[in-house]
């Protein structure tokens, strides 16, 4: 433990929610917006989501087609590397398992690169986006996901820091190796587990 900061008492362990990973605070009703690029204009008519790369059946869904898939919801917490967390939030959309199941993973597949309409990318091991751990979501608290938070649809990988939950997601590229995405090339950790405080490279 670091030497205490002179005069800093903090908020005390009693007031600390056990759902908060180390170094995180509860943002309450706030939902900060932190993105590195221009917010795109949503266009549902041209929207699509693709699974490509090492799959048996590369597949692209339109907005209507992806809504026709079996729905799936997440209730729980999200954690941003900039130290805010939101507790007890709800998203709904479709499980990444469903999408990968339709496309059919090839045996050599080990990782995915999520990509967005803006050119943003983020890399994830397959194990972090399968077995009910990842979604493509278009509703937040039963309302359409706002564009500043990634709407019409974003990736949701809530057990990792939220830069992994790519806003304005347009697809997953299935790979047989790991390669760094946007923030991972720009100083952030390759995996980003909030409970291990994997914030930046070297953590």
């Amino acid at each position: 433990m670091a030497k205490p900061t002179r005069g800093f008492l903090g908020r005390g362990k009693a007031a600390r929610d056990p759902r908060l990973p180390p170094g995180q605070y509860d943002a309450g009703d706030q939902w900060p917006v932190l993105t590195a690029e221009v917010t795109p204009q949503p266009d549902l008519a041209s929207w699509s989501f693709s699974v490509e790369g090492l799959v048996g059946h590369p597949t692209t869904w339109t907005w209507e087609e992806i809504h026709a898939l079996p729905g799936s919801a997440y209730s729980g917490d999200i954690h941003c590397v900039t130290t805010w967390s939101k507790l007890g939030v709800q998203f709904s959309g479709v499980s990444v398992d469903t999408l990968l199941g339709i496309a059919g993973l090839e045996p050599a597949a080990t990782h995915v690169m999520a990509f967005s309409s803006t050119g943003y990318t983020t890399n994830l091991p397959l194990a972090d986006v399968t077995a009910g751990r990842a979604w493509v979501v278009w509703e937040y608290e039963s309302a359409p996901l706002p564009v500043e938070h990634g709407g019409p649809a974003r990736l949701l990988v809530p057990h990792l820091y939220f830069w992994k939950s790519a806003k304005w997601v347009a697809g997953l590229r299935v790979l047989d190796h790991d390669e760094p995405g946007f923030w991972e090339q720009n100083g952030y950790h390759d995996r980003g587990d909030p409970w291990l405080e994997q914030r930046y490279q070297g953590d």
Binding site: A2, P4, G10, V33, A36
Partner: protein, 237 residues
């Protein structure tokens, strides 16, 4: 990729060597680093406060000073009501205190004074842009850079004595200084059009609302979307 990171423990204990007000709600903290590292204009440091019981609170703050060999950095911090870290820094920290920091961090919102840049800042969003302006001036490359800052009133302008120059313009939205020729109004395409250098990368920093508004102005003036880099200062505290 690990430039700017001391080996091993990324945290170091910096010493506060100067505290000075920028506005009624912003202070600049000069820190001396025991393990300074090369950095780029636009990067940030994380400040971590530790309570006697081990509880910690961390926030990221942009460096306002230009990259240099002094072993010092300057962080400008806006005091946010209820902001656990910013209130502590404003209300408790004095010269001589130690503060735990790590950095520099971020390789995207950075400018290396090698290509044209247009900087657009709103309010406290000026801070990382100031590091770029200072770098341009110190390295004699002001011709590569143009900067527009939007603030409500003259009292809200950071670095007010240092900012004026042929490469900078200030848009006051609510009240203007007596000498001003521009009426108080929102930042507009007219303000930005003269700043758009050919082939420039635009750096936009401010609140999410300001960032989207300013990005829209730049797009309207023909700035390519892939040449707009954005840093949104969320309402984090």
């Amino acid at each position: 990729m690990t430039t700017g990171r001391p080996a091993g423990d990324p945290w170091q204990m910096a010493t506060v060597t100067e505290v000075r007000p920028e506005t009624r709600t912003a202070k600049t903290f000069r820190l001396t680093l025991p393990a300074p590292a090369p950095r780029l204009a636009g990067q940030y440091y994380v400040v971590r406060l530790t309570a006697p019981d081990g509880y910690t609170a961390s926030r990221s703050y942009s460096v306002a000073s230009a990259p240099n060999d002094s072993g010092e950095i300057e962080l400008t911090v806006e005091r946010l009501d209820g902001g656990e870290v910013s209130e502590f820094l404003h209300d408790e920290v004095v010269v001589g205190d130690d503060l735990e920091v790590r950095g520099p961090i971020g390789l995207w919102f950075v400018w290396e004074a090698q290509s044209p840049a247009v900087l657009v800042g709103g309010g406290s969003g000026i801070v990382p842009l100031m590091a770029m302006l200072r770098l341009a001036r110190q390295s004699g490359q002001s011709d590569l850079l143009r900067m527009a800052v939007s603030v409500r009133t003259p009292d809200d302008l950071y670095y007010a004595h240092e900012l004026p120059g042929p490469e900078t313009t200030v848009a006051y939205t609510r009240a203007v200084p007596p000498s001003a020729t521009r009426h108080p109004s929102r930042l507009s395409e007219q303000d930005l059009a003269p700043l758009l250098l050919p082939d420039a990368t635009a750096f936009v920093c401010g609140s999410p609302g300001f960032a989207d508004f300013a990005s829209g102005l730049l797009l309207g003036l023909g700035q390519p979307v892939e040449k707009i880099r954005v840093e949104r200062f969320g309402p984090t505290s």
